[in-house]
């Protein structure tokens, strides 16, 4: 717990009130008590009412609501005389109590709902509940409290479970790990396999040479070297030749030396010299 916070809360002054007189003494008669104007530390109108009710020195169930109303209004009047800024909720309570008093004093009007007795009873019930909780709080605080009146062990050894790991490892994992380490640390040589390709340059030369002699539209595949030519039986080289020739055709079209057309996607790609 944070000491500072408790201290702050405990000492927190109520900004709406200031201490004008000594705190009410328990020995004061109700009349004398009514002259006290201890407005410091009330926690709202209900709190003030409860304290006034207590000073009637009777069971809260039998308090005189009218007396209570009078005492409350007297307090508020007196505060007014002393030009105290009164918090709004105290004034609201004063107005309500004045109204209740008038209802209680006037001949009973059955049309007024709720009846003044009912209002008075509700106020009484509220005061009883606040009083009950205030007393309970005090009784709670007066109990033997751990750390104040009773004490836990000053220096407990503490309970804890010591965890022990039993490590496991499989023989295979051990050997495989060594293999991985060795493999990882071996010098690595990168070799690029030589692959049969037809370069773009040779494709360009071949396609433009053939375009010069062709008279009309020709399928691009007609420009590829025949299988009988050296090495061109190799399917990999044929694919390379197809790709290179296609790029060569695009290049020639870009240079304005060739025209290309295709009837539909994936239809044969037709090629001829630019006219």
């Amino acid at each position: 717990m944070n000491d500072a916070d408790l201290a702050v809360i405990a000492a927190e002054p109520d900004p709406d009130w200031e201490l004008l007189a000594s705190p009410p003494s328990d020995h004061a008669t109700p009349d004398k008590a009514a002259l006290h104007l201890d407005l410091n530390g009330w926690e709202g109108p209900l709190d003030l009412l409860l304290d006034l009710a207590r000073r009637q020195k009777v069971d809260l169930r039998t308090i005189s609501i009218l007396d209570l109303v009078d005492q409350y209004l007297a307090y508020i009047d007196r505060a007014g005389m002393m030009r105290l800024e009164l918090a709004a909720d105290y004034l609201v309570m004063a107005a309500w109590l004045a109204y209740l008093k008038s209802l209680l004093l006037l001949p009973h009007d059955p049309l007024v709902e709720p009846s003044p007795e009912e209002l008075a009873l509700r106020l009484q019930l509220r005061l009883q509940r606040l009083a009950a909780m205030r007393e309970s709080g005090a009784r709670l605080m007066a109990r033997d409290r751990l750390g104040r009146d009773v004490f836990a062990r000053g220096a407990p050894e503490g309970l804890r479970v010591d965890k022990r790991h039993r490590w496991t490892c499989e023989w295979f994992d051990l050997v495989a790990a060594y293999g991985q380490v060795k493999a990882r640390s071996q010098p690595v040589v990168h070799m690029v396999r030589e692959r049969p390709v037809m370069t773009l340059e040779s494709a360009l030369a071949r396609v433009s040479a053939l375009l010069g002699v062709a008279l009309d539209w020709l399928d691009l595949r007609a420009f590829l070297p025949a299988r009988s030519e050296a090495g061109f039986a190799d399917p990999q080289l044929r694919r390379s030749a197809l790709a290179s020739s296609f790029v060569a055709a695009l290049e020639l079209a870009k240079q304005g030396k060739a025209e290309m057309r295709q009837a539909e996607p994936f239809a044969p790609l037709m090629l001829r010299a630019a006219r």
């Binding site: 717990m1 944070n2 000491d3 916070d5 408790l6 201290a7 702050v8 809360i9 405990a10 927190e12 530390g41 926690e43 709202g44 209900l46 709190d47 169930r61 039998t62 308090i63 005189s64 609501i65 009218l66 007396d67 209680l104 004093l105 007795e117 009912e118 008075a120 009873l121 509700r122 009484q124 019930l125 509220r126 009883q128 509940r129 606040l130 009950a132 909780m133 205030r134 007393e135 309970s136 709080g137 009784r139 709670l140 605080m141 109990r143 033997d144 409290r145 751990l146 750390g147 104040r148 009146d149 009773v150 004490f151 836990a152 062990r153 407990p156 050894e157 503490g158 309970l159 479970v161």
Partner: protein, 200 residues
């Protein structure tokens, strides 16, 4: 001579830094059922300077309450809970779970921002969920630490709680009023009327 289990439970609770449930003690001691041992130890310590107590289902050793005057630290470093905080704590303990609005309905004033924080920081109050009503307000309840600190075995041991309940003082005003109107409103009215008559 105490049995092995009794000795072990005694030592475990003695060494523990926090109150322990019988389950926790048992788990620590290899799954034993320690409830009988706890009863035996509690009986053994009766009347000694130390006692074994149960607070909210958890057990711990503490010094006997009547020795407080001898053991209280000389340095009177007493942190006193403010009246507002004390009231809030009482209301939460006697009514739990309870919303801030319900606390305020009883106290008749707004609760300052820090008041509930102080109680939660002390470890005595916790947020216990939300009430399933419009706005879903947070509701508060007390903790096992609260019971341990105030020496309560359970909430049933809250001072006077049975009397308060019997008197309807833990019911909201509306309920109490309705009950009175149904039942002995006449009696209550008589009081009120008497009071009026007295004043007249």
């Amino acid at each position: 001579m105490p049995g092995e289990l009794v000795r072990a439970v005694e030592a475990a609770l003695f060494a523990a830094t926090e109150p322990m449930t019988p389950q926790a003690i048992g788990a620590h001691l290899g799954g034993a059922d320690v409830r009988e041992a706890l009863a035996e130890i509690a009986a053994h310590y009766e009347g000694r300077g130390i006692e074994l107590v149960e607070r909210g289902g958890r057990w711990h050793f503490q010094t006997a309450g009547d020795l407080a005057h001898l053991l209280r630290p000389e340095r009177e470093d007493q942190r006193k809970l403010s009246r507002a905080a004390t009231e809030c704590l009482a209301i939460i303990a006697y009514h739990e779970p309870v919303s801030r609005a319900e606390i305020e309905a009883i106290r008749g004033v707004q609760t300052a921002r820090g008041t509930l924080d102080v109680l939660m920081e002390a470890g005595w109050v916790r947020v216990a969920g939300r009430r399933e009503v419009p706005g879903r307000p947070v509701i508060f309840a007390t903790t096992p630490d609260f019971l341990a600190h105030f020496g309560l075995e359970s909430r049933r041991d809250l001072p006077g709680i049975e009397d308060l309940r019997a008197a309807g003082l833990l019911d909201p005003v509306d309920d109490a009023f309705a009950a009175l109107v149904d039942g002995d409103l006449t009696a209550a009215k008589d009081h009120a009327t008497e009071a009026v008559e007295d004043a007249e």
